[in-house]
């Protein structure tokens, strides 16, 4: 084991880690937006909405993320431009693919969260005179959020780990940068070991943070 290369290549770990975190945050945000839409479609009474939402979820969950990412990269052809040194023509399709993927899982999390709210809550709200939408907004969703948030935290952890797949379309996240270092220093093992530790520290501290937040939320009940 020889970690002397770090003096020359530490930068790639740092920038890769930062990019991985940025990608994960964007993915979770977009995934929640997509997932909420799909979940609402799935629990609606409109047959077409239901069918679209179900096909979406089934298709995404039935195909590998790797395939989806490659497919999106070739489908979304963007002119090249850079923001903060990131190649947007790769970064954008990559984040979209990750979000579309995560959205399907988030949709199921949200649907389950909504359906776990007692049916009586919706009935009580409707009996006061709230419309379906108002009842959702004021009564059901705020309660569903307590079921949803912990599961969303787990999805965040999953996204951090799965974003390593983006290295196949050469987005300079942590895994891609690890490959770059491996290729440059003729030593394959050490960079990989460091990267494993970084991923673990990221997900472990996030899990602890979420556990703490969850306990706080429960005691405020």
């Amino acid at each position: 084991m020889d970690f002397g290369f770090l003096s020359e290549y530490w930068y790639y770990f740092v920038s890769g880690t930062v990019n991985t975190i940025v990608i994960a945050i964007l993915t979770v945000i977009l995934g929640v937006i997509i997932g909420t839409g799909i979940a609402l479609m799935k629990i609606s009474h409109n047959k077409i909405f239901k069918a679209v939402a179900s096909s979406y979820i089934e298709f995404i969950r039935g195909t590998p993320l790797l395939v989806q990412i490659t497919l999106f990269f070739y489908l979304i052809s963007l002119p090249e431009f850079h923001i903060f040194g990131l190649e947007m023509e790769r970064f954008i399709p990559g984040v979209i693919a990750m979000s579309v993927n995560s959205g399907a899982y988030v949709a199921e999390i949200i649907r389950a969260g909504i359906q776990a709210v007692d049916k009586g809550q919706m009935e009580a709200a409707r009996s006061i005179g709230f419309t379906q939408g108002q009842a959702m907004r004021y009564i059901v969703l705020p309660q569903a959020l307590r079921n949803i948030l912990p599961a969303l935290g787990n999805e965040f952890v999953v996204v951090i780990k799965e974003s390593s797949v983006l290295s196949v379309i050469s987005i300079s996240e942590l895994m891609r940068n690890t490959n770059i270092i491996q290729g440059a220093i003729y030593r394959p093992f050490e960079p990989l070991a460091i990267t494993a530790v970084i991923y673990f520290v990221l997900t472990f501290s996030l899990t602890r943070l979420l556990g703490y937040a969850e306990r706080r939320m429960r005691t405020s009940d």
Binding site: D2, Y11, E80, P188
Partner: protein, 267 residues
């Protein structure tokens, strides 16, 4: 529902295929584009030292290596700026054919299969191929016959893969996408030998005491590395060949190889 979905997927595939084939037409357009933008966009795969690899130069992430030095010279001859695009090796030729890059320099061998989808310049560097093994096994492998029934690694979709199949009779091929992964397998005794280009192999041997080069003779039919250009751009190929002739005549390419090897040795 299932039927509708299949239909949609089908449409998608057709649209993609048509898109790619339309992008494949047109003549001399790459040269026109380079002249218009004043920029030569070079696609490469920056994890293949010493041909191309990343380094911090004055604190900035930069791709350097033999191929990059050559690309700089070509851009200089054309009087345009150079821009490097770093992609996975497997995606390079489709980047070329979808006009995401103008040319590809990535230590690429002009084999028959690739010649079907793109055109190549003349060969700029005749790399020899080497068989790398664990240092402790160096004495065991002297001839092609010694590799019989052994597991021999090569990078997926490369000339080396072909060499294992055609020249190493009785060897079992193990293909992986990335050379570092293959090296790891070699070190962990999951494979017994590894066919790589000599400049790459010597980099690994220099940096890893437990690796060694054998004298097992393998030869390269394709002759070395060349620059890929989208089909129908003979004027661009000519321009590149002119630059390559100059570099070879002045012995600059050998100098680049030497430079890259020196720069790259970390200790």
């Amino acid at each position: 529902m299932m039927k509708g979905m299949l239909k949609r997927i089908f449409c998608l595939i057709i649209v993609v295929t048509i898109g790619i084939s339309i992008a494949g037409c047109g003549g001399g357009e790459t040269m026109k584009r380079i002249e218009k933008t004043g920029k030569l966009v070079v696609g490469t795969s920056g994890d293949y030292a010493p041909y191309e690899y990343h380094m911090l130069v004055d604190g900035k992430d930069t791709i350097v290596g033999i191929d990059i030095s050559i690309a700089e010279e070509i851009a200089k001859d054309m009087g345009v700026q150079l821009q490097i695009v770093d992609t996975d090796f497997n995606g390079l030729l489709s980047s070329l054919n979808t006009n995401k890059v103008d040319i590809v320099i990535a230590g690429m061998n002009p084999d028959e299969k690739r010649k079907k989808s793109v055109d190549f310049s003349k060969i700029y560097y005749e790399a020899k191929q080497g068989v790398m093994v664990r240092a402790e096994d160096k004495d065991k492998y002297k001839t092609v016959a010694d590799l019989k029934d052994k597991k021999v690694g090569a990078q997926l979709g490369t000339t080396q893969e072909k060499i294992v199949k055609e020249q190493l009779e009785g060897a079992n091929l193990v293909s992986l996408g990335k050379i570092p992964d293959l090296v790891m397998e070699l070190k962990n005794k999951k494979i017994d030998a590894l066919v790589v280009e000599l400049p790459v192999a010597s980099g690994y041997v220099k940096n890893n005491n437990d690796l060694a080069l054998t004298d097992v003779p393998v030869k390269d039919d394709t002759g070395g590395s060349a620059i890929a250009v989208k089909k129908g751009n003979s004027n661009l190929v000519e321009q590149i060949n002119k630059s390559l002739d100059r570099l070879m005549k002045d012995g600059l390419i050998d100098k680049f190889v030497q430079e890259a090897n020196e720069k790259n040795v970390t200790k």
